[in-house]
């Protein structure tokens, strides 16, 4: 990319960030997260008890908010995009500017919402590993579901349908998929399921993020499992690195698909 298109991208990123900052949605998101975290720490009986609940909350809420905010902004920004495209602006820098302009503020809002109350309670020093893992999982989930949100928004032209599709994707990834995995585990209980289960987890970004958290919070239980593959996976740095790599792939591949769609789309 030339310098000019980079600067265009940065400029668009700046507009987008300012636009988002004005729209109360992100502030509300950060505030709601902060309130929930603060409540969990103060009324739930300390950080040790709050972290697991927070992890479940993050795994549920972050994908939902990222999806909804992304789809709605892409649709509401339709006129703005058309306006920009009538100027000599490349589609790649425009897309990247928009993408980062959404993913970065969303991620920042998430981190602020979770880390500020945890930091205030002193958890950053006492439970550094757990907090870092939850923060990392949430940040990566934000990136993944911003990418997926772009794919949905660019493929479904009707805003209502896009919203419906986003909700469906969220429900499937957060809840239904695990139900199917559980049923499969019972259906094929007689077979060695370790590797298939890990592959199934890799196919759902919400599960990958959850597994990343479980590695930090439930290592003792995971080590108690009979099979060697789980022990190797959950016991060391290898599993963690694989999970993070997996989430990165889940960010980049849909983002690339969305960019191709964006480049070909007739606005």
């Amino acid at each position: 990319m030339s310098d000019r298109s980079v600067s265009t991208g940065v400029k668009i990123l700046g507009y987008q960030v300012r636009d988002l900052a004005r729209s109360r949605a992100l502030g509300g998101y950060a505030l709601a997260l902060a309130l929930a975290t603060w409540g969990l720490v103060h009324f739930g009986g300390g950080t040790a008890r709050a972290l697991p609940s927070l992890a479940t909350l993050v795994v549920l809420v972050v994908p939902l908010v990222s999806l909804l905010v992304t789809t709605s902004f892409v649709h509401h920004g339709g006129d703005f995009i058309e306006l920009l495209l009538s100027h000599p602006v490349g589609r790649r820098p425009l897309f990247l500017g928009m993408y980062l302009g959404l993913a970065l503020p969303l991620g920042a809002a998430f981190l602020a919402g979770v880390l500020i109350p945890l930091g205030a309670s002193g958890a950053l020093s006492t439970h550094a590993n757990g907090v870092a893992t939850v923060a990392l999982a949430g940040a990566l989930l934000t990136a993944v579901f911003t990418s997926l949100g772009f794919v949905i928004a660019l493929r479904a032209t009707d805003p209502a349908r896009a919203m419906g599709a986003a909700l469906l994707v969220w429900l499937a990834a957060a809840v239904l998929y695990d139900g199917a995995v559980l049923l499969a585990a019972y259906r094929w209980a007689a077979y060695p399921l370790e590797t298939p289960m890990l592959v199934l987890m890799a196919l759902n970004p919400v599960d990958v993020a959850r597994v990343l958290v479980v590695m930090a919070l439930d290592a003792s239980a995971m080590m108690g499992y009979t099979g060697a593959i789980f022990q190797d996976f959950f016991g060391g740095a290898v599993g963690r690195a694989l999970a993070i790599a997996c989430l990165c792939a889940w960010t980049i591949v849909p983002a690339w698909v969305a960019m191709r769609d964006f480049q070909r789309k007739d606005f």
């Binding site: 479940t56 239980a221 789980f230």
Partner: protein, 421 residues
């Protein structure tokens, strides 16, 4: 007390012999001493003499101590087995050994080769030994009334079959182990057919199999010991009348690793211990009339696994904090009582403000039953779906053991010697 009286009686009995009357001598072994080898000194000594071994490395055949003696090594006195033999064998009563470094016995597959073997002897004292790279470290067979104190045993075993136990007691009674540190052996401390013994303030760390392993050893106490990072934790079996108090069980990770494995243990007490970072805190199989009280269960995979063949045990006044699963069992019925524990998962109210929750707590989650039946499902830990299933089961219990419940869950942790968690 009784042991001391017997000890005094025995001492007086032997001292009545005319040969040793008033002639307690000190013999010095080493270059410039009275004797060149320890064996020579022991052979020349009269009962109740003191043999002092000056610093240096001694390579001689296994020293057999066959009369009551005080055997003392100066700082830096090393007995080297050259990978071929045990170093000291005590076959007489009232022997005291202290201050030596015993090293390199080598491995034997035909005998239980030990750095120090006490064979059919009573009233021995073993103190301040350093035992390095021994097959078995200190081995008592058919002995009793002994004190093993402040010894350090270190081996570098990696495989169960090629290593022996650190402190090994077989058919022995009234032995006290105090302040010893055992590392890198097969079992740190091993008791078989031992009675009325005390294990106090020892550290058994990083052993290949169990930190503590006992069988058929009634009436023994285990107090303030540390059992950490052992291959499979601590296993105790086929024993009654055990007291385990204020021990620290931690870092037993693995599919067959337990902070504490109870197998056929009856009429025993497990009080004020801490179980931390173990795959399973306590695994109880056939634990009958065992009282588990005032313990801390922190961040274990499973805090307590209690099998249905455990009857009449009580689990009361313990703290359960940050465990992946609190309680697992293999039955819909419960034959043990849970009462007055603190559970961090408890979400009930306390409207009469008496510190006890208004509704019972059911510590067995549906998901722990699922995992028991279908282990790979463990990857779904903390899934929202699992939370939903657990919630549904709480509202309408169909599968989880209904009578395995804590009717009086506490709202604040019990205070223990381990302090606020």
């Amino acid at each position: 007390m009784r042991a001391v009286l017997i000890l005094l009686a025995a001492l007086q009995g032997t001292q009545a012999a005319p040969a040793s009357q008033g002639t307690v001598a000190t013999r010095v072994v080493g270059p410039g001493g009275d004797h060149a080898t320890i064996t020579e000194a022991v052979q020349a000594a009269q009962p109740h003499d003191t043999v002092v071994v000056t610093r240096g490395v001694y390579r001689e055949a296994t020293v057999v101590v066959d009369k009551p003696l005080v055997l003392r090594g100066e700082d830096g006195t090393v007995l080297d087995g050259e990978g071929a033999r045990g170093l000291l064998r005590i076959v007489a009563d009232s022997v005291t050994v202290s201050g030596f470094t015993l090293r390199d016995t080598g491995i034997s597959f035909t005998e239980d080769r030990a750095a120090l073997l006490v064979d059919r002897a009573h009233f021995c004292t073993v103190r301040d030994l350093r035992v390095e790279d021994a097959f078995f470290g200190i081995y008592l067979a058919n002995s009793g009334d002994c004190l093993l104190e402040d010894n350090t045993l270190r081996a570098r075993s990696t495989r169960e079959t090629r290593s022996g136990n650190g402190i090994h007691l077989w058919y022995s009674t009234r032995v006290t182990l105090r302040g010893n540190r055992i590392e890198g052996h097969r079992d740190g401390i091993y008791f078989e057919f031992v009675e009325d013994s005390r294990v106090l303030d020892n550290e058994s760390v990083g052993n290949v199999r169990y930190g503590l392993h006992f069988m058929f050893s009634d009436g023994c106490d285990y107090v303030r010991n540390v059992f950490a990072d052992n291959g499979a934790g601590v296993a105790v079996m086929y024993t009654s009348d055990v007291l385990m108090e204020e021990n620290d069980f931690r870092g037993s990770l693995g599919n067959a690793a337990f902070g504490l494995l109870l197998k056929d243990i009856t009429d025993s007490e497990i009080l004020g211990n801490r179980f931390r970072d173990n795959s399973v805190g306590i695994h109880a199989e056939g634990a009958n009339r065992v009282r588990v009280a005032g313990n801390d269960f922190l961040e274990n995979g499973w805090a307590v696994k209690i099998m249905a063949n455990s009857e009449g045990s009580t689990i009361e006044g313990n703290n359960f904090l940050g465990n992946s699963f609190d309680v697992a069992t293999n039955s819909r019925r419960s034959y043990s009582d849970f009462a007055g524990n603190y559970w961090d998962r408890y979400r009930g109210w306390d409207r009469d403000a008496d510190g006890v929750g208004d509704v019972p707590f059911h510590p067995v989650r549906l998901f722990s039953l699922v995992v028991a039946q279908n282990e790979p499902a463990l990857v779904l830990q903390r899934s929202p779906l699992v939370a939903l299933l657990d919630l549904a089961e709480q509202v309408l219990p169909l599968l989880t053991p209904e009578d395995l419940a804590d009717p009086r869950p506490r709202l604040a942790p019990v205070s223990t010697r381990w302090g606020p968690s």
